[in-house]
Structure formats: C-alpha cells, structure tokens
Amino acid sequence: MKHLLSTADLTRDEALHILDTAQEMAKTQEREVRKLPTLRGKTVVNLFFEDSTRTRISFEVAAKRLSADVINFSAKGSSVSKGESLKDTALTLEAMGSDGIVIRHSASGAAERLATSGWIQGSVVNAGDGTHQHPTQALLDAFTIRRHLGERSDSTGLDGLTVTLVGDILHSRVARSNIHLLTTLGASVVLVAPPTLLPIGVETWPVRVAHTLDEALDAFDIDALMMLRIQLERMSGGGAAFFPSPAEYSRLLGLDAARLARLPSHAIIMHPGPMNRGLEISAEAADSPRSVIVEQVSNGVAVRMAVLYLLLAGEAEL
C-alpha cells in the first residue's frame, strides 16, 4: 500500500491488517511512555486546504507518537478560490522533502490528483476530499464497531452486523467511505435519508435504504447506528434547500430518547463529530452509555498511527 485514498481501494485483508495494527497501536497507548520510535527521521506534512482542527490534531498526535517530524501546512484558499494551486503546493512540499502528506481538501478527488499526477514521491493519506472519501474516519468507525460488537460477528471482520447511517448521504464523504469499508468487512449497510439527500445512483450501491429513522427501526435489526452531521445551510436558503426545516429533520431523522429506547440493547451509537445536539442527535442519546462517540476520537489516533506506520515505516518492527 503506497497511499490511502479511498476505502474502495482496500481489500478485506488490507483493511483487517490496518485494524489489527491499530489494535497494537492502541495497546501501546496504554503504556506509560506512549511514544514509539518507529517513524523517527520521517517527515509528515499535514496539508489542510480546509479547516478541520479535530482531524488535523488527530493526525498530528498520531504522527508525533510515532516520532515523526510534523509540519502543519494550512493552505488557506484552495485553487478553487484562486489561491495557490494544488500543483504548486505539492511541488513546494516535494522540494522541502516530505515522506508522507496528509491532505484535506474541499474538492473531491484532490488527494487522488496529488498522489497520481507525478508531483510528489511520498505517500498520500486522504484526510477528507470534498464529498468523496474520508478513509481514516471509516477505519476508525470500523475499529470502534469491531471493538464493541466483534464478538457478535461470525468472523474477524464485521460479518453479520448491520450498520445504519442516518443523514446527509449525498454530501457525506464519511458515508461513502463507510459504505465501501463496511461492505468489504462483511457488514450489511442501511442508509436512512430523505430522497433529496441520497445520490442519484444509490440503487447501484450495496445498501438498503429507508427514508425515516422510524422506518429503519421497524425494518432492520440495528447493531450500530451512525448519525451523520447535518449542515444547517442545506436546510434553509430558498428553493434549493434539501429539507424544509431543521425541526422537520429532527422529527423524521433525529435520534431522540424514544428512538434510542427502541434500539436493541447491545446497539452502539456513533457520530463522526462535531455534533449538532438537539438536531440530528439528542443529548440523551449522545451522552447515553451506548454512545461511543468520545471513544471514536481516541480510536482515531490509533487508526491513524496504524495507517502512517504501514505507509511510511516499511518493514520496521513495532
């Protein structure tokens, strides 16, 4: 594996290898000295064309715990807004010398262009590209699901589990990444969204679809429920809105106390953050014992450590 651009590129064995490695990484994080010497002398660039403090910090912590040198390169204003072009930025970073570039960009495909245009030699990790992919988010989600529900699966993957994603599938890179990875790992995926927030072409995806959360709770045995963040601007602002109002969104798709109570007792609740409490998820649900939302964050560090290690360390030992 040279780059991590999309979960669609991962075989089941590769995905499991990343998850197993992340498990090793997580164990090291329980030690007194959490820093590993593995990537000493390597340089990781966090190239963020789009603000995301959480994701950047998660990658930064992961790289530093592996002893890599970290450079944060915040390229405000992508070439979409006539800033420095992706190509010039890439050539600059290449000239400075970098072993791995973690890129977040508002344009779908930016990570793939960076990796395949011949501008750079090093590895590329996609930390979110437009509405396309966010593979480390999906890996940390799978890691979290496996941790909590692994014994319910009839394999080392997620076979037999049903994972339900609720919200704006159309614009969600988290959803796209999860659908590929969960399917590869054997889980069955349910999408819950109004038709306006599902892409044309969803019928070609390996998923089942419901339009309201109640409908999904009626029809499917849900093991993990992933609430996606809803962008308020998509529900207002005139004729092109995807949804009539935030209140209606909550009514049809929000996870409130009543719906929380209808979930099977073993089911876990997830959210990629940041949450809109009271909109897609109620405080009861977010703070309930079934919520693994805070744990997702710490698992994110372990998964990103695993990814950076596998891409950059070569055959070095843990």
Binding site: A8, Q133, I200
Partner: protein, 433 residues
C-alpha cells in the same frame, strides 16, 4: 498563384475512383487527361476525398484568451483536422455581441487564411441572458452573421428566447442553444448518475439539457422559427428532437465526437481533461447519440473544440475548466465509431461534417459537391493510416485532448481551401511545400 493540382485515382466519397484536377481554386475536371501543364501530380490511390469539412462549433478564444488559442493556431489546427471552414463561438473577451467584435474575428480569420472563419454572434449582451444583443447589426456587418448563440451559457429565460427566435427571422437567422437549465446545474461537475455518486462530484442531470430542448422546440413551433440544438448528449434529447422533427418543427441538432466515444466512466481518476459541458454521459446515452446520427435525427457533427491552457486543467476537478480540444481528432473519432463499424458511409460523413453544417450555418461555397466547376474545398483522408493521439502533437496552442493514447484508424493527409493546400501530412509528399 497556387499551382494547379491533380490528385489521381482518389475515391470520391469513398465510392468510385476519379482524378481531381484543381485549377484557379475550382475543381476543373475529374479526369487527369485535362491536367494543365505544370500541375503538381499527387497519387491519390487509397485515399478518400470528401468535400472540405465544416465545423459548426469552434472556440477560437481570440480575442481575450490568446494564451489558450488564437485565430491563427486554431485555424492551423482546423486545417490539420481537415476543416476548411469553422464557426467561431461568441464567448470571447470581449464577447462577440457587437458588429465590431464579429468583424474583428472575421477579418483576422481572412488574414490567416487557413480556413474560413465565420463568427457567430451572441444572443444576449455579454452572454448574460438579460437583453438581446444587436443581432441586426451583426447580421448586416461584414461578418454577415446568421447564427447566434450564447454557447457556454444557456438562454434560459423563456421570454428572451422567444423574442430571439422571432427576431432573427428578419434576416433568416437562427438561434443555436446551449441547452442547460442553470438552476438544475448549479455547481455541477459531471453527469449525474452512478459514477458521480461514487466520486462525490456534484451531478449535472440529463434533464437539465432535455427540459430546455423540449421547451425550445415548443417555442420554435409556436413562433414558427428555426432552432438549432448544440451538442446534444442524452438519449432523451435525441428522442425529443426526433419528436420535434416528426411534428414538422424546424429543429436541427448537433453532436460532438467526444459524446459518441467517451463515457462518464472517464471521470474516475479525476483527470480534468475529461471535464466538459455538457458532460460525458453513460454508454446508453452515447449509443443513443450514435443512433441519432445514423438515423438522421442529428444533423451535424461539431467539434466544440474548447482549448484551455494546462494550468486550467491540471488541478482539482472542481477547479478545472470545462472543455476539450477536438479539431484534429474529430474525423478519426467518427471513422472509428461510425464508419469502421459499418453504420455510416463516407457519403454520410460528407453530409454530417460538411454539407449539412455548411447549409445550416449558411457558409457560401462550402459543403458543395465534388464536381466540376465547384470550389476546390477538399479533405483527403487515408482511412488506413492509423495513428495514436499525442495531446502535445497538436497545432492547437492548448493540449487538453481527451483522446491521448487512443488510436485513430485514419488520417487527414491533405486539406485544400479554394485550391490552396492548407494542410499536408508529411507522408503526403506531393502536396507538401
């Protein structure tokens, strides 16, 4: 004075062989026995002669974007592709919405002299879709504009479109529509379907094209005007045009080479050379467009040659420009997809790429028969000389061809405009300077 030329044993329209004797800018005879003394003799055996190709849809970028293309480089590229006349779209800077700009383009085309450059005029001032440009002034200018289009932008206001359709009847003009509902395509990046869903690129729904075509056909019927549909790209667009024709509406339609060869699958990889408007569509649409060319629903093939400098094409998909060059690959694509597959004859190609465009665009002296006394506007094709497209090996100033690496089955070996050789393939020694 250009020397007389005799091309011996060339197959006219891919049919019977004849000799073409060219003198004083005309086809003087179809028998080498009539060759004037001093004529250059060229062996035409194995070649197909077509009436010189006419492109109804070219973006030459001058004035304003001479970094992408000039009238000179675009003309050279056109000649290399077998064209003797091109219709230059109005979306330049400044926009070709006044007599002054269209005359400037027309004059510069004549100075270069490699192809006849006929400018279209914009329908609305600045392509803004707000008020009609002075269409009459452009029609009466030296450029003699007969076709008007806001191409690149859609004349989406139905009232404005109606007025334009009616108004141009004054001088037998025609409106050519870039059919794209702007509201349905805000931020759109590629065809909306399974591929856009997986790539996370905002979809350009087929209905944004089809709804405008349907509306315009109904408007044209209502006011009794002609309407020309540019670069239609979907199966239902073909159906709607077919329906309009069956009602007797004076509707004509164009298809581009890229829409009959490439599909939306090309967008995988996010290489913006495949970003174009209207977007590349799925195979079922591509096949319907081919079928529309075969059954006559679609009248003309236009390149929509749209040059862009590298820096407008090598970034992220969303930040890159729409459009692809195509003047030098159009005949190859048509031969590959429609002639070599047995669906069209070279006679059909002559109709779709020369005769019908010349008639539609009212280019005098073009699209004429290969017959004695006619202007010597001729395209010579070696249908067996295959070549692989190298985007850098073009006469265009830009290199944004989507066909790089694709083998074209035949080669344009010579282009002749009123008896003058405007392009000669190196292998075609006799015509070379």
């Amino acid at each position: 004075m250009t020397k007389p030329i005799v091309i011996t044993g060339v197959s006219l329209y891919g049919e019977e062989a004849a000799d073409i004797v060219i003198a004083k800018g005309e086809i003087a005879s179809l028998s080498a026995a009539d060759a004037p003394s001093g004529a250059v003799i060229v062996d035409g055996s194995g070649l197909v002669a077509l009436p010189g190709l006419v492109d109804p849809h070219t973006h030459l970028r001058e004035p304003g974007r001479e970094d992408a293309e000039t009238i000179e480089t675009g003309s050279r590229s056109a000649a290399a592709g077998g064209y003797v006349a091109v219709h230059a779209m109005a979306n330049t800077t400044p926009v070709a919405d006044t007599a002054g700009v269209v005359e400037q383009v027309w004059r510069r085309g004549r100075e270069v002299g490699l192809v006849d450059v006929f400018p279209l005029g914009a329908v609305t001032v600045g392509l803004k879709g707000e008020r009609l440009a002075e269409l009459g002034a452009m029609a009466q200018s030296d450029a003699h504009v007969r076709m008007f289009s806001d191409d690149g932008m859609c004349v989406s206001d139905p009232v404005l479109m109606r007025r334009a359709l009616e108004y141009v009847k004054t001088f037998d003009g025609i409106i050519a529509q870039h059919a794209q509902d702007p509201r349905l395509t805000e931020g759109s990046q590629m065809h909306e379907g399974a591929v856009s869903a997986s790539l996370g690129l905002a979809g350009w729904p087929a209905v944004a094209e089809e709804s405008i075509i349907a509306r315009d056909i109904l408007l044209a019927e209502h006011v009794g005007s002609r309407i020309h549909v540019l670069h239609l790209s979907t199966a239902r667009s073909v159906d709607i045009v077919r329906w309009g024709k069956s009602r007797g509406v004076k509707v004509t339609a164009e298809a581009t080479p890229h829409h009959i060869l490439l599909t939306d699958e090309s967008a995988r990889g996010y290489d913006a050379r495949f970003k174009v408007n209207p977007p590349l569509r799925p195979e079922s649409d591509v096949e319907a467009v081919r079928a529309g060319l075969v059954d006559g629903t679609i009248d003309v093939i236009g390149t929509d040659h749209a040059p862009h400098p590298d820096e407008d094409k090598d970034g992220e998909w969303a930040a890159s420009a729409f459009g692809m060059i195509g003047l030098e690959t159009s005949l190859g694509v048509v031969q590959k997809t429609l002639v070599d597959t047995g669906r069209l004859t070279w006679r059909d190609v002559a109709r779709l790429m020369s005769e019908a465009p010349a008639r539609l665009c009212q280019f005098e002296g073009h699209g004429r028969p290969l017959a004695v006394g006619e202007p010597a506007n001729i395209t010579l094709v070696d249908p067996k000389r295959a070549w692989v497209v190298d985007p850098r090996g073009t006469a265009s100033r830009s290199h944004n061809s989507p066909f790089g690496g694709i083998e074209m089955p035949g080669t344009v070996v010579g282009t002749i405009l009123r008896g003058a050789v405007t392009h000669a393939h190196p292998a075609f020694g006799g015509l070379g300077k």
